[in-house]
């Protein structure tokens, strides 16, 4: 017979678990129903991306970095291209910049819709999952129309983008974001006023702002704790300094704020996409001087950071003047979110840990690389 210790015991929310997004293992030390200590054990999805990239040319690195964070694969491509462009001081044509912004923001909306579905499912409401994924399908169809892929796009290349958009992209894109904007109020209406949802998410797992900054947390989690820090405003890249949008900030830092902030961000992304579609110029889509086979940026190092759906995604790129990068260090937002979890996620019940972990929106490939 099993021996039931009434003191602290260790429960393993193992790598295979419906509520840990991807393969994350959390060793929980529990006292009854309360969690006393959390220890994340990672590395189940380590694919040695950084080592592989050191043996590939710059163009070959892009599909590998697609898998660095496969839910927002456009951002991974873009941040690497940005770093390479900063090293080689390349101009990107305007049409390519506008297309990049459209794709990045569409990818942000898709990621946040997936977050909405999965968070609701973790807290017990099964239906929003299907609603979120249904809208995400319309965005994925747009991506498939452009670059042929549904998840790992290999679209944004050094110096521009790889394909031009077909003629039906612009009307379909407008249609898709219009529908998403209308349905968002339905989706939040399903959950926001529900007393059960409010009890499960309001006031739960508050992350104080100073702890968030100390641990390098970024993105929606940081902004939900009241810190106004968005790289699109603070360190603008691409054409974000010409577009008009707001940065939503919420001040409580609990699960409800983290969830609602992402819904607010979807609305802002819709604004950005409409402006980009209106201002889309004609022209080339790639800088002619960049030839994939012989691209050799001069020696130097640069850190490129962008605002991804999960926080600051960065690539520190060191080049020694040859065809292959010397060092590609990838930095993902989920890494820091997982690092701060044991420092504020204790002293609550397992049900709250599930809600907390869901609203952090951690994606394991970003952590393990």
């Amino acid at each position: 017979m099993a021996e039931l210790r009434t003191q602290e015991f260790i429960v393993n929310m193992g790598p295979h678990h419906p509520a840990t997004h991807g393969v994350c293992r959390l060793m929980l030390t529990m006292n009854g129903e309360k969690i006393v200590k959390i220890e994340p054990v990672i590395g189940y999805l380590h694919r040695a991306i950084e080592k592989i990239c050191e043996n590939r040319t710059y163009a070959q690195c892009i599909p590998i970095l697609d898998r660095f964070e496969y839910v927002t694969s456009m951002s991974c491509n873009y941040v690497f291209s940005l770093a390479a462009e900063r090293l080689a001081e390349i101009e990107v044509p305007q049409r390519a910049e506008y297309l990049r912004v459209i794709m990045l923001e569409l990818n942000r909306i898709a990621s946040h819709l997936l977050f909405y579905g999965v968070t609701a499912m973790d807290i017990g409401a099964y239906t929003p999952f299907l609603y979120g994924l249904r809208e995400r399908e319309s965005i994925i169809d747009l991506f498939e129309m452009t670059c042929g892929q549904r998840l790992t796009y290999n679209y944004i290349r050094v110096g521009g983008v790889s394909n031009d958009i077909p003629k039906e992209f612009v009307p379909k894109c407008r249609e898709a974001i219009k529908i998403i904007g209308e349905k968002l109020s339905d989706y939040t209406g399903l959950l926001n006023e529900n007393p059960i949802w409010i009890e499960r998410t309001k006031g739960i797992a508050v992350l104080p702002a100073d702890l968030a900054i100390a641990y390098g947390v970024s993105g929606p989690v940081l902004r939900a704790s009241g810190v106004q820090y968005d790289i699109r405003r603070n360190d603008p890249y691409c054409i974000y300094d010409r577009l008009d949008f707001e940065i939503p900030v919420r001040h409580n830092g609990d699960c409800f704020d983290r969830y609602m902030l992402r819904i607010d961000e979807i609305r802002q992304s819709i604004r950005i996409i409409s402006q980009a579609l209106d201002g889309l110029p004609e022209g080339e889509i790639r800088n002619k001087k960049v030839k994939d086979a012989t691209f050799k940026p001069p020696a130097g190092e640069a850190y490129a950071r962008i605002e991804n759906s999960r926080g600051e995604m960065g690539i520190y790129l060191i080049s020694d003047g040859s065809k292959k990068p010397l060092r590609v260090k990838t930095r993902g937002g989920s890494y820091n979110q997982l690092q701060v979890l044991p420092h504020y996620g204790t002293n609550m019940l397992i049900a709250d840990l599930v809600a907390n972990f869901a609203t952090l929106d951690v994606i394991m490939p970003e952590v393990d690389r």
Binding site: P18, E33, G124, R134, E199, R200, A351, D352
Partner: protein, 356 residues
């Protein structure tokens, strides 16, 4: 009530016929009784199994249409025999038994759950004179018998030798015991007016106009129904009270280590329980099998019960899940005071004779 329609109408004739045939064979009375009741038991068991299979299919279709997809479509028209196929599959599965389980407890848990689910149907009034045994303590018997499931949940949690299962089993036991109190108090509110615990009497007291149904007897009727349906959803471990089987947290809770037919028994028992509490709701609040003459009474009963089952299914696919301490707080700090207040109000109404 004028002449009844001919086809398929009143099945009570079947029971009469069986009883008379047996008496005609000249066996002693005890044997006749034993054989009659055994046959009735088998028939009810068969009918209920079919209903459970149908309900599983129905749940999948309702959940699918709520979520804007189709659900099972391949096996038969709109997948009607999908559940039969699933049952056949479960029959063929290997019965995985962990070495470190507690053998006796592990084996008997699903059996007790399954049997307890069916025992309540001995006194269920399926239609006009369609009841196996009209005990004069009918509703009390049902309350007693449906409580057996708590033991089986605890046994399943303990016998699996698994922390997750144990946590699930204990939470479930706490939940079911807590929600028994408002459920019984809601039922008592109605019993005050009927004056008898027998199920047939409860239904007969609601015959006549539709406004005789207890749900229309304001103010205590609707309140009793609402508290009853909430407590009943918790009794069946359905969302929003499905902490014991919360997939995302405990990976299926108390039945995580069961596979094959044993798992199927827990699963079927859940659906039969759902049908039981809906049938009790219909008997107490919606007039049982009363209805217009042109449809036989047992069809009325079935339709009304399926309506309440539909309500419970819609709850599941709309609401998120309550946390375990919020659940207990809700039961003890809200439902229990409300139901007892309702009971007192009903008592005052009965004493002064203010109802119709």
């Amino acid at each position: 009530m004028t002449g009844k329609p001919v086809l398929l109408a009143e099945l009570h004739g079947l029971f009469q016929w069986l009883h008379e045939k047996l008496q005609a064979t000249g066996l002693s009375q005890t044997w006749v009784d034993i054989i009659t009741y055994a046959t009735l038991g088998v028939i009810i068991f068969g009918v209920l199994s079919l209903i459970a299979l149908y309900l599983i299919w129905w749940e999948r279709k309702i959940s699918a249409h709520v979520q804007q997809r189709f659900g099972p479509m391949r096996h038969g028209w709109h997948g009607w025999y999908q559940t039969v196929m699933d049952a056949l599959k479960l029959l063929q599965k290997e019965d995985i038994r962990i070495v470190t389980r507690d053998k006796v407890v592990f084996f008997w848990a699903p059996v007790i759950c399954f049997v307890a689910a069916f025992l309540a149907y001995v006194v269920m009034p399926f239609g006009d004179r369609l009841i196996v045994a009209d005990l004069n303590i009918g509703i009390l018997y049902i309350m007693a018998v449906t409580t057996f499931t708590i033991i089986s949940l605890l046994m399943a949690g303990w016998g699996s030798n698994n922390k997750y299962a144990l946590l699930g089993g204990m939470r479930s036991a706490a939940q079911v015991v807590s929600y028994e109190v408002p459920m019984v108090a809601s039922i008592l509110t109605i019993i005050i007016f009927v004056g008898s615990l027998s199920m047939m009497d409860i239904v007969k007291a609601q015959s006549g106009l539709i406004f005789n149904w207890y749900i229309f007897r304001i103010p205590f009727g609707p309140i009793a129904f609402l508290t009853y349906i909430v407590a009943a959803t918790a009794e069946c471990n359905r969302t929003p009270f499905d902490i014991p089987e919360a997939e995302q947290e405990l990976v299926s809770g108390y039945n995580v280590e069961y596979s094959g037919m044993k798992f199927a028994m827990f699963f079927l028992a859940e659906f039969v329980n759902m049908f039981t509490v809906s049938a009790i709701a219909v008997t107490l609040f919606f007039g049982g099998w009363n209805g217009w003459d042109f449809i036989p009474s047992w069809i009325w009963f079935l339709m009304k019960t399926l309506g309440i089952v539909l309500l419970m299914m819609l709850f599941r696919w709309t609401y998120p899940r309550l946390r375990v301490d919020q659940l207990m707080e809700f039961a003890w700090k809200f439902l229990v005071p409300v139901t007892f207040a309702n009971l007192i109000v009903a008592g005052i109404f009965k004493y002064f004779g203010w109802y119709w």
